[in-house]
Amino acid sequence: MARLSKEERKVSIMTKALELFSKEGFYQTTMPAIAEKIGMSVGNLYNYFTSKEMLAKDLILYIANILGEEIRRINESPISTQEKIEAIVHMYFRIAKERPETIEYFLRVYLSNREVFQNCCEGMICVSAFVTELMIFFEEGVRAGDLKDQDFFSAFGLFMGYLGGMVFLNGEKILPKSLESYEHTISDNIYNALKSR
């Protein structure tokens, strides 16, 4: 079997760490526990990440890049603004289903433990890849006359807060139906709330 490069090895460590962080939370997850999960010595783990905080930071960058790339593909598709909203909702719920640890990490680690990130991820730096694509989505929607011109964060909060909230409820097993069964109505609600009159 071919040896993994250092970068590939890092991604493989992050994938495992992501599962632990999203399940146990940031403080309950220790570097020895991560090392044990991937079958690596703790000392060796520190060769890849100099601290748990640095690993946490790389994880949020990693997730923001995944989401950013997905939204970029949607932004660059020749579809209407309303269809883009549907596509973003679908993509977000798909990731929440297929890779729940990514969204869980975002909600339960990154947003819930801001003190961990305050010295390395000021403001939105670590989620820039994701936020930038949403900025482009909103800007193009307003420019095309499809969306109402308003403060970016008013629209951002409505869109992402809604999706995050639904994924959270789903994670808590409160939703009576599957997440994807809400896609259409949620997309409609978002479009109706944001569209130009």
């Binding site: 403001g123 939105m124 730096i125 820039s128 800007e139 307003v142």
Partner: protein, 298 residues
């Protein structure tokens, strides 16, 4: 003792104008020196050899024809329509300078009659003006008004027989390759995305809310200062983009945004790159840049 070289013979003709470029020219502190190298066959204000009536009676040759103001074919000077007078003078001139944005692109006056008013070579961005066939000898000095030193630069270059490199609108690159943003004292505020909330203050960038067009306007206003001391942005007023063929735009003192994002990006900067960088810069709070530079109440 070497004899003095012959002075360049210059004709300054006005189309539809507010006289702004003439006044700007008279503000050149080096005007006295310049007048040692040129002599006016005709100028609307300065002492000169011929009156307007004499000028149109027998159109003379000239080294430089300076045209100020917008062009309208039916507009008359001394009873002669521009459609006749301008080409006649232009044919007999070695060099032509389109002085100011009205002469260059149509400018403010074009707003009144867009169909009939244009610049002498360009009608906004299109090279469809009356002198388009002789544009090779035209130098564009757009601006509202053009800076007097831009004019003396061109005259000095012509006088010295030097080639003037020009851009797509025939503006000298030496003067217009820069953006008004270059040399702006507010660049640090631009870098860190600190807005200016008011006109006339020393602090903050005027791009985000006040409509400043410095990041996409060609001109050396922050390199060759006005009255040798200042510029719009230095005194706390946004650049209104007066050197561009798109001038005048509407709502000059407001930045058009879509969902809080400027509708126009700094020249040549892809939107995605700008937003990523701006988002990162906005994440930091630089205390020094959020304070008054000089606090009267400290």
């Amino acid at each position: 003792m070497p004899s003095n070289p012959a002075k360049l013979k210059v004709i300054w003709l006005q189309g539809i104008t507010c006289n702004g470029n003439t006044h700007s020219f008279l503000n050149d502190p080096a005007l006295g020196t310049l007048l040692e190298t040129i002599e006016f066959i005709h100028h609307p204000l300065l002492p000169c050899q011929k009156t307007l009536k004499e000028l149109v009676k027998k159109v003379p040759k000239s080294d430089i024809l300076i045209f100020e103001g917008s062009y309208n074919a039916a507009f008359e000077r001394a009873g002669v329509e521009m459609r006749t007078l301008l080409p006649a003078l232009a044919h007999k001139a070695k060099h032509i300078i389109s002085m100011g944005s009205c002469a260059s692109f149509g400018g403010i006056f074009k707003e009144n009659d867009p169909e009939h008013i244009s610049g002498i070579v360009f009608d906004r961005e299109n090279a469809s003006g009356p002198l388009k066939s002789m544009q090779e000898k035209v130098i564009t000095l757009s601006g509202c008004p053009a800076h007097p030193k831009w004019l003396s630069f061109v005259i000095d270059m012509i006088s010295a027989g030097r080639e003037i490199l020009v851009d797509e609108f025939r503006r000298p690159k030496e003067l217009y390759a820069y953006l008004v943003h270059n040399g702006c004292l507010r660049n640090e505020y631009f870098e860190w995305k600190v807005d200016s909330e008011h006109f006339g203050t020393k602090e903050g960038c005027l791009f985000y809310a006040q409509g400043c067009q410095g990041p996409f306007t060609h001109g050396s206003c922050n390199k060759i200062l006005w009255n040798e001391v200042s510029s719009k942005t230095r005194s706390g007023t946004p650049c209104v983009g007066c050197t561009e063929p798109t001038f005048p735009k509407r709502e000059l003192f407001t930045t058009k945004t879509y969902m809080s994002i400027p509708s126009e990006m700094p020249l040549g900067i892809p939107k995605r790159s700008y937003l990523a960088l701006a988002g990162a810069a906005k994440s930091f709070h630089i205390k020094r840049l959020e304070e008054r530079l000089i606090d009267d109440h400290a």
